[in-house]
C-alpha cells in the first residue's frame, strides 16, 4: 500500500469517526425536540400511549391542537398576550438601551462610570429575590395584572445585557463619522437615527433577539404577576394545561403547546443565528 493511499484512508477513517460522533451527538440533542413535535400530531388517544414509534401511527391529526385551542379563553388570546409582551419588550428594550448605550458611549456627565457599573451589576442580583416588592410596586402603580407591568419588568431585567451590548456597539463606531455629520448641522437625534443606527444595527438585532427569547419564555414572574386568566402568557397557560383538565392530563395538548412555544424561538434562532452567537460571545471576549 502506498503511503499516499494509507494517508487518504486514515483521513477517510478520521472523517467517518468525526461525522459518526457528530451524528450521534446531534441526534441526542435534537431527538427530544422532534419527539415533542411528532407526538403533538398524534390523535389524543394515541398521544396518551408511550411514543413508540415516535411518529403518528393512526394517521396525522391536529386533534391535540384543537383541544389546546379550546382551553380557557382560547389559545389565540394567550398567543396574542405572549406576542404582545414579547414584541413590546423587544421595542422598549431596543429604544431604552439604544439611548443609554449612546449616552454612555458618547457623553460625559457626573457619576457616569458609577451609574454604568450600577446598571450592569444588577445582573448579579436575582430578580426572584425581589419579586414580592415588585408585585407591590406594580400594584401601587396600578400595573399589577397588566401586560404593561410585566413588560416593564422584563425590559428592566434585560437592561444590563442590552446596555452593555449597545455601549460596545457605539464604542466600535469611529468618532469621526459622527463629527462629520455634526459639522453639517444635524441635531443629535438626527445623527443618532440616520447615521448611527445603521452602523449599530447588528447590536440592535442582538438586543432584540435576546429580549424576545427572554420575555417569550419567562415563567415565574408571569405566574405571580398575572392573575387574570385572560392575561396569561403561554408558559403560564401551559403549566395550567399540564395541571390537568377534568383531573386528567392531556399530554397531546401539552406537547402541542410546547411545540407552539418552541417554534418562534427556533425560527428566530435559525434565521438570525449570526447575531445571536455574536451577542453571546460579546461578554466572553471582552
Amino acid at each position: 500500500m502506498s503511503a499516499r493511499r494509507s494517508a487518504s484512508a486514515r483521513h477517510l477513517f478520521a472523517s467517518l469517526r468525526y461525522n459518526g460522533l457528530g451524528i450521534i451527538a446531534a441526534f441526542l440533542f435534537l431527538a427530544p425536540l422532534a419527539w415533542s413535535v411528532l407526538v403533538s400530531f398524534k390523535p389524543s388517544v394515541e398521544a396518551r400511549q408511550p411514543p413508540l414509534p415516535p411518529w403518528p401511527v393512526g394517521g396525522f391529526s391536529v386533534q391535540s391542537y384543537e383541544n389546546l385551542a379550546k382551553y380557557g379563553a382560547g389559545i389565540w388570546t394567550y398567543t396574542g398576550n405572549s406576542l404582545t409582551v414579547a414584541l413590546a419588550t423587544v421595542v422598549a428594550s431596543v429604544v431604552v438601551s439604544l439611548l443609554a448605550g449612546y449616552g454612555f458611549s458618547r457623553f460625559h456627565f457626573p457619576f457616569k462610570n458609577v451609574l454604568f457599573v450600577l446598571i450592569i451589576s444588577t445582573v448579579m442580583i436575582p430578580f426572584q429575590s425581589i419579586l414580592t416588592p415588585l408585585f407591590l410596586i406594580l400594584t401601587k402603580l396600578g400595573l399589577q395584572n397588566t401586560l404593561t407591568g410585566i413588560v416593564l419588568v422584563y425590559v428592566t431585567l434585560q437592561l444590563p445585557f442590552s446596555i452593555f451590548m449597545m455601549r460596545n456597539a457605539f464604542d466600535a463606531v469611529p468618532k469621526e463619522i459622527e463629527d462629520a455629520a455634526r459639522v453639517d448641522g444635524a441635531s443629535i437625534f438626527a445623527v443618532l437615527y440616520r447615521i448611527m443606527l445603521p452602523l449599530v444595527l447588528p447590536g440592535v438585532v442582538t438586543v432584540a433577539i435576546f429580549a424576545f427569547l427572554a420575555s417569550w419564555n419567562e415563567f415565574l414572574a408571569a405566574l405571580i404577576l398575572l392573575t387574570d386568566q385572560n392575561k396569561y402568557t403561554l408558559p403560564v397557560l401551559m403549566a395550567a394545561v399540564r395541571s390537568g383538565q377534568f383531573g386528567t392530563i392531556d399530554w397531546g395538548a401539552v406537547q402541542s403547546g410546547v411545540t407552539l412555544m418552541m417554534a418562534p424561538c427556533l425560527v428566530l434562532f435559525l434565521g438570525l443565528q449570526r447575531y445571536y452567537i455574536r451577542g453571546l460571545t460579546a461578554g466572553a471576549v471582552k
Binding site: A26, R48, P50, P126, S129, N217, L280
Partner: protein, 308 residues
C-alpha cells in the same frame, strides 16, 4: 468583562463651558429612561425587600414590624436549610456535568469539517427553547405511563416493570440533571469555543513539534489560556443553577417528598403559597447575600488568574 475606562470624547472634563454643560445634560437625558427603570424596578424593590423582611407581612392584612424576628425564625426552618443544601448540591453536580459535556462539544465544534456548522447548530438548539417549555417537554418524556424513557426501557427489556422515575430522589435528580445538561450544554459550548478560538495556533503547533501529547497540550496550554473564559462560563452556570425553579416546579413538584424543593421554590411557596411575604423577603435576603458572595469570589478569580 466590564470596561469602564472609556473616554472617547477628546474634550477635557474640567472645562465647563455652557456647551459642555448642555452636553452633560444631554448625556444624562439619554440614560434617564434606563435609570428610571432600574431605580423603579430594581433599586427600590431591593430596599423594600429588606424593609419587608423586618415585618410580619401577610399578603392580605396589615404588616407588623418585628425586627429581626424573621431572620431568627429562618435559622430554625429545617426545610429552608435542606432546600439550601439541595440547591448547592444541585449546583455543584449540574455545573460539573455541564462542563463534562460542553468541553468535548467545544473541542469537537472547533474542528473545521464540512458539517461542523450543522453540528454546532444542532447542539445549540435546545438553548433557545425556554426552561418552561423544556420542563414541560421532559415532564412528558419522564412520565411513567405516557412518556418515553420508562416504557422504552421496558420495551427494550432493560426493566421488567415500568419504573416511575419521578418517585425516587436519585432518578428524579439525575433525570433533571440530564435535562438541564441537554438544555444548556450548547450555551457553554459556545462560550468555551470563543476561548478556544482565542488561542493562537502557533502556540499549539510549537508545543506539538516539541513533542507534547494532545492531553499534555490540553492541560498545559489550552486550560491555562482559557482560564478567563472558563471562569465566565462557571459564573453563569453557578448563578443560574442557584436560582433554579422552573424545572423542579414543573417536572417534579418539588418531589419526591419535598426533597427537590430548591431555595427559590421554598421562597415562592412561603411568599405566595403561605402568604408570608415578610418571611419570604427574609429568605430572599439570605439567598441574595449568599449569591453575591459567590459572584464576588468568582469575579476575584476571574480578575486574578493566580488565585485559581
Amino acid at each position: 468583562m466590564i470596561n469602564s475606562q472609556n473616554i472617547h470624547d477628546g474634550a477635557p472634563i474640567r472645562r465647563r463651558s455652557g456647551r459642555q454643560r448642555r452636553k452633560q445634560l444631554a448625556g444624562l437625558l439619554f440614560i434617564a429612561p434606563a435609570l428610571i427603570l432600574v431605580a423603579t424596578f430594581f433599586v427600590i424593590p431591593l430596599g423594600m425587600a429588606f424593609w419587608m423582611s423586618l415585618h410580619n407581612w401577610p399578603l392580605l392584612g396589615r404588616p407588623r414590624f418585628i425586627g429581626f424576628g424573621n431572620y431568627i425564625r429562618l435559622t430554625q426552618d429545617a426545610q429552608f436549610w435542606s432546600s439550601m443544601r439541595f440547591t448547592v448540591y444541585y449546583t455543584v453536580i449540574v455545573t460539573i456535568a455541564i462542563f463534562a459535556v460542553a468541553f468535548p462539544l467545544a473541542l469537537f465544534a472547533e474542528k473545521a469539517h464540512r458539517f461542523t456548522k450543522f453540528y454546532r447548530t444542532a447542539f445549540f438548539l435546545p438553548v433557545v427553547v425556554g426552561f418552561g417549555s423544556a420542563s414541560l417537554l421532559w415532564a412528558w418524556l419522564l412520565d411513567v405511563d405516557s412518556g418515553l424513557f420508562s416504557p422504552a426501557a421496558e420495551y427494550l427489556g432493560l426493566m421488567t416493570t415500568r419504573i416511575n422515575l419521578l418517585a425516587d430522589f436519585d432518578t428524579t435528580f439525575w433525570s433533571i440533571i440530564i435535562m438541564v445538561v441537554w438544555k444548556t450544554a450548547g450555551f457553554n459550548m459556545i462560550i468555551l469555543l470563543t476561548g478556544l478560538q482565542g488561542i493562537s495556533t502557533e502556540v499549539q503547533e510549537a508545543a506539538r513539534i516539541d513533542g507534547a501529547s494532545s492531553l499534555q497540550r490540553f492541560r498545559r496550554i489550552t486550560l491555562p489560556l482559557m482560564r478567563r473564559t472558563i471562569a465566565l462560563a462557571l459564573i453563569l452556570s453557578v448563578s443560574g443553577s442557584m436560582l433554579a425553579f422552573d424545572q423542579f416546579y414543573i417536572i417534579a413538584d418539588g418531589g419526591p417528598q419535598n426533597r427537590t424543593v430548591t431555595a427559590v421554590y421554598w421562597i415562592f411557596s412561603q411568599s405566595f403559597g403561605s402568604f408570608r411575604l415578610g418571611y419570604g423577603a427574609a429568605l430572599s435576603m439570605v439567598l441574595l447575600v449568599i449569591l453575591v458572595f459567590i459572584s464576588v469570589v468568582q469575579l476575584r478569580l476571574l480578575r486574578n488568574p493566580e488565585g485559581m
